[in-house]
Amino acid sequence: MAGALSEARVIEFEFEDAVAAADEADALIVDLDGYEGPLHVLLELARSQKVDLIRISVTRLADQYLAFVRAARRRRFILAADYLVMAAWLAYLKSRLLLPKPQRASEDEPPAEEVAQRLAFRLAKLEAVRRAVGALNSRPILKRDVFARGDPEALSIISHRRLEGDLYGLMNAYIAQRKRAQPRDYRPLTCQALRLDDARDRLRAMLPRLTRWTPLTGVAPAQRESGPTRASCVASTLAATLELVREGDLDARQLDHFQEVYLRARPGPPTKATA
């Protein structure tokens, strides 16, 4: 995929196209929330070509899409991975469409034109679905456009409709009970971490005793039967150490990676920093 992207950079697209595409991309990103995935964005871009979707220029569509991705990047808009995968794929497809045809057709890859055609067809299908949504929504919808009898007299005159395979109801009934049957002894997790505030208060209280270099592991509280784990004690104490160092009450040193950290109170009156 990375190779495909670098290939794409080699190919430049026409300037006007680029400007138009960038404007369009900016507009798209503004309401990206309304789009569900790369295919929906592609469809929106393809529509702007104002031709039958089956006849769109896929190379131009690729340019439009890459401009969209660049615009997103420029605006520091985080695109989901599938948008980037689509970008890489389109860049690759475009390069295959533009580069001279290899002498021998590749065996494991269908011709680029066919792939492009298939993409166009997929977009046409998605467009058809969109139109179908529109067509359905313009139907006279019950309780929106048309209304049935508000006060039926005979609730018992009901249709002999065969109960439609209400498997959903059956599944629902099953799961509802299995859930009930699951043991329900919910135990809230006791806080397993040494709170940073506590660690800092504790360390500050220990300052008078830290007159010489003392290893962090010796300063951190030992693990008890219950309560925070040893790792949390050490981590929180280290964090507290760094804060006190910043406040000028403590010195800390470490000779090498993974070596013990030593702490020592800085000589002089404590600054009495308040949180």
């Binding site: 508000g150 109960l163 395979g165 498997l167 059956l170 799961i175 009970q177 859930k179 699951q182």
Partner: protein, 215 residues
């Protein structure tokens, strides 16, 4: 001035869709400002005179109601509801997935005593049948689903009963279920069941009558 027949149409639609009878004031509030409500109501009343549905005034409110001479059509023989009660639906679901199950099994999953009615209703509707007897003390009767059950739910076979994967797909398996949660496969018959046929018929009836709810 609006066409009086347009107002008549509007009143017709409003009265039809309203959940309760509407007064002149109610109607006027929902009609164009200069609508002649009284004239519209009168035209409508005359239009429906002698039809299967008539416009009547009750306590200064208007409503459509079926002609009194057709009341005999409305007295519907109490049709047996085809919808299963919640308890029946739940019991049916357990039998479907866990079959063959005994009454005690059902109660264990449901966490409540099976009321005599629910299982009987399912048996009566032919959705559930007695399948055999568990090879365990007391040799309790086991239950399973019928062909009518498959038909009712549009299943070709028990193998088509949606499993855990479909339940998950349908959004039914929430995260608070344990990781090892399983939905049994009803096509895998348990080995500890005797066919019901082995049991002499007379005993069967006795057992059935005696077979109380006690596990």
């Amino acid at each position: 001035m609006i066409d009086p027949s347009a107002i008549e149409r509007m009143i017709e639609a409003l009265l039809f869709a309203a959940a309760e009878p509407l007064s002149d004031v109610d109607l006027a509030a929902r009609l164009p400002l200069d609508a002649d409500v009284a004239a519209g109501l009168d035209a409508l009343r005359r239009r429906y005179e002698g039809r299967g549905v008539e416009l009547v005034e009750v306590a200064r409110r208007w409503r459509f109601q079926t002609a009194t001479d057709l009341a005999f059509l409305m007295t519907v023989e109490r049709e047996e509801s085809r919808r299963l009660s919640r308890a029946a639906q739940e019991t049916l679901a357990i039998i479907a997935y866990h079959q063959p199950v005994t009454r005690a099994d059902i109660e264990a999953v449901r966490g409540v005593q099976a009321s005599r009615g629910t299982l009987d209703v399912l048996l009566e509707q032919g959705l559930v049948r007695m399948r055999g007897r568990r090879r365990s003390p007391g040799r309790p009767v086991t239950y399973g689903t019928t062909d009518a059950f498959l038909e009712h739910f549009g299943l070709a076979s028990l193998a088509d009963l949606p499993g855990a994967a479909e339940m998950k797909a349908a959004g039914l398996l929430s995260l608070d279920l344990p990781a090892d949660f399983q939905v049994p496969d009803p096509t895998l018959a348990r080995a500890d069941e005797d066919p019901l046929d082995d049991v002499p018929a007379p005993e069967f009836h006795q057992d059935f009558l005696a077979g109380g709810e006690e596990p």
